[in-house]
Symmetry: C3
């Protein structure tokens, strides 16, 4: 017997109070033909997540009464080109990284309690320091167009997500102000040389109202090889005929021998009928050595054509130019230090 799931209620993505209890199955299957070229080698792939990250998820919300809700969110990355799952990191340290293989709820696995006080969220989740990079990137940190401030980032294992986290989110009705705090644990033994490795605190605050959305974030993560402090801010303005956006990010490592890095992006989204043009220029520079700061500049241009709200075709082209020994390359290509790389994605994104 084949069973299908009936559409009943859409859940809010955040833990905002809802009067109805429900469980939702959701996902994205995004396949892309990706080509990359570099001075050393090129690569052709049928890969995934060129526009949105492929995933399979289960989430639900329960109305506890009195304005309180409990909710859960289990979301697994899916490499739909070969069927494998994504990778997670169990301790926010280099030692905790898992190879891509079986399905894991690497994208998010949380349980929350929400109410007038806001939301307390426990588990594996995005870090506050990641949001400005993706929200204010026209390419949403997916595919060949992903901002160079993420691709070159020196933010360490918690650049995007953290495991073992305790998060707090401000409630939704604060006149446009929003904010979150997150503490994540490395969980090492108290007598270990790196007892604080993978432990950190991060904050984000912003304001969204009408056409404007701006936010700032800061994080401080302990690592045996040097603590990393990340600071970033970003903003977006909706002109109607286009959305313009920009962000700046810097990563500082407390170890004298470890490089710092910083970069920025400027870009925009231009609606065109059922589609959207995407444009971004981004750059990131690290101070590896005196007088020779590797730097990568990226130009990305794309178009998304919506066949429906759930299904879209897309094409993205990107070019990276490397300076002072940087060797960033696109879509699996390899390029020599100081050489360029080009790449493109042609794909389809289907969500459910």
């Amino acid at each position: 017997m084949k069973k299908s799931l009936i559409a009943l209620a859409v859940l809010a993505a955040s833990g905002a109070a809802m009067a109805q209890s429900s469980v939702t199955l959701f996902g994205v299957v995004d396949a892309t033909y990706a080509y990359g070229s570099g001075s050393v080698s090129n690569r052709s792939q049928l890969t995934n997540s060129g526009y949105n990250s492929s995933r399979l998820g289960f989430r639900g919300v329960e109305d506890l009464g009195g304005g309180m809700t409990a909710s859960f969110w289990l979301e697994a990355g899916v490499n739909n080109d070969n069927g494998t799952g994504g990778s997670t990191n169990t301790n926010n340290q280099a030692t905790g990284a898992s190879a891509s293989g079986g399905l894991v709820f690497n994208r998010r696995s949380t349980v929350s309690l929400s109410g007038g006080f806001g939301e307390v969220r426990l588990g594996r989740d995005y870090t506050p320091q990641f949001w400005n990079l993706t929200v204010f990137d026209p390419f949403g940190t997916n595919g060949v167009g992903t901002t160079q401030t993420l691709n070159s980032s020196l933010g360490g294992p918690v650049t995007v997500r953290a495991s073992n986290s305790i998060g707090y989110f401000l409630p939704g009705k604060l006149g446009g102000f929003y904010g979150q705090a997150q503490y994540y644990l490395g969980e090492n033994a108290s007598n270990a040389a790196n007892k604080k490795d993978g432990t950190g605190l991060a904050l984000r605050a912003g304001f969204a109202n009408g056409p404007i959305n701006v936010a700032v974030a800061f994080s401080d993560t302990k690592y045996l090889a040097g603590n990393i402090k990340t600071f970033n801010l970003g903003g977006q303005y909706d002109l109607g005929m286009a959305k313009v956006m920009a962000h700046y990010n810097q990563d500082r490592n407390s170890a004298a021998t470890a490089p710092d890095g910083s970069g920025w992006l400027i870009g925009g989204l231009i609606p065109v009928g059922a589609g959207e043009i995407r444009l971004a220029y981004s750059t990131y520079k690290t101070d590896v050595a005196v007088g020779a700061d590797p730097k990568s500049n990226k130009l990305a241009l794309g178009y998304v054509h919506n066949l429906s709200k759930r299904t879209a075709l897309y094409a993205t082209y990107a070019h990276v130019s490397n300076k002072n020994g940087a060797a960033q390359a696109l879509n699996g290509a390899v390029t020599a230090a100081g050489s360029n790389s080009n790449g493109y994605d042609l794909g389809i994104r289907h969500s459910f």
Copy 2:
């Protein structure tokens, strides 16, 4: 399009006959801040399953007519602090243990045929010898309060579950009597030195009626390093103002050089408004050497506060004292032989 699942029918946990066919998605997301201290090192974690085991499952039942039903049950453990899955064991031997990583249906993966004759169940399932330890533990073998008869157990790879099992359950309507038998295969080649390794037989019988529930179980599992026979019994009486419970467990190894072990628990559950107080004292002793039997005694105290049937907050404190070289420690702490360990959990359990 977001789709939600409509509540339609609750499935019986056992294979009792049902008139309606259905498929059910179910799960638990339980997150806990866990702290443990010992004489060597302490540990802080945001971990999972402090009250109930986190899981994601799919199960269904089909009415075949004539009082017969077919059913399936696929249930995966979820480490929701970092998104990984649980671990299973493919051959009931030390060699078959898998590391925690991708999602596996380690908790249960079975198909059943049920009728007036009872239930035949095939696949990976709990062993009969496990039930008395968990049913008659106020902490349900979860979290820092877990009975020491499980934490110190010498029962081997099939202490909790067995793969490759053929199980039989008595039908439900026997005036309160219940029982099950299970045969599990190690699946080794017939010419292997350890050809029976991981193969065993286990039985459990009990009686539940009104306030009383008692049961006894026995298992005999072949291992290359010595066969293990486990015997246990337990009981519970519901006084109304409280449930009191106790169990006794012993593990005997046929190898002269391998230690035997035994232990017991006494505990209770006391309803308090929307909550419940949990109390247990448990102990386990092994006869490693003449005149020096390592022994661990555990005292656990907890409180669960139900926000709803599905959502609860909980706190548990436990203390272990070790004697004669035992070194059991709590929540990831490490303690020296003969030293104590303390731990506590503070968490939230949400089920769906």
Copy 3:
């Protein structure tokens, strides 16, 4: 709260246009007691997929209007005897094989766009060269009865499925004619010695109308160790009282030192009340050395008894005779070169 999924609409297995959007959860749990004997060793197992492959899947279709649909299909193998998932291959090469462990969508993970032009399907999917082996095998390439043309096949990593594939299917309404083409990528770097390793092209065409179904397939896959060309054809005729079927398969390796192989099957399915008798004789020969071509002949006999459309009991017996150094054995047994092997399955298949 337990939630169950309501039956609403059955999805077509192919991408044929549908007027309604839906998401479907589906699966099979098939458990079997499997015994195999050989001249070296025998083996007893409680294993899976003796009749149909155990699986858990999620699929959906969206009506885009104008005769167009988008659809996805994520299907994971499940080893329900121990809870592990299946194995996939990320690059269609020997290096890309993954061990069975966590759940992966190894059976199929695709996204499709369909319309009057047919279907374009991207991701991991069955290869065109596999279909004739399974469709025209009375045992559907499952269990101890599986055709020897698959068990001895020299078709390489893409014998059954390919990752990174771009597939095209003819539309459904062509008077019985059907066809598909598939290109799959090994995704190696352009400067690698084996840059085309795992890359291939395959085609299949057939005709199905009334009692007849015939098809032919061809594939050409590049490997560092020698390219493999597979050719096969098969057919089935429904006599009413029985279906008779046959297929032929050959695998040619371009490397002079690598063996070629070929084989065929003849078999039938005979309906008997609520059940079906299954019969097949198959053989496969490889030209490993001059004058000594290893050859395995297999006779398989089975019976399936349907308790419902979803649930069936089955029994299968098979015998393999090996010649000229072949050593094929059944159900985990090991047999010496030139010796025989016997095996049987006794199982239950439940689908949902």
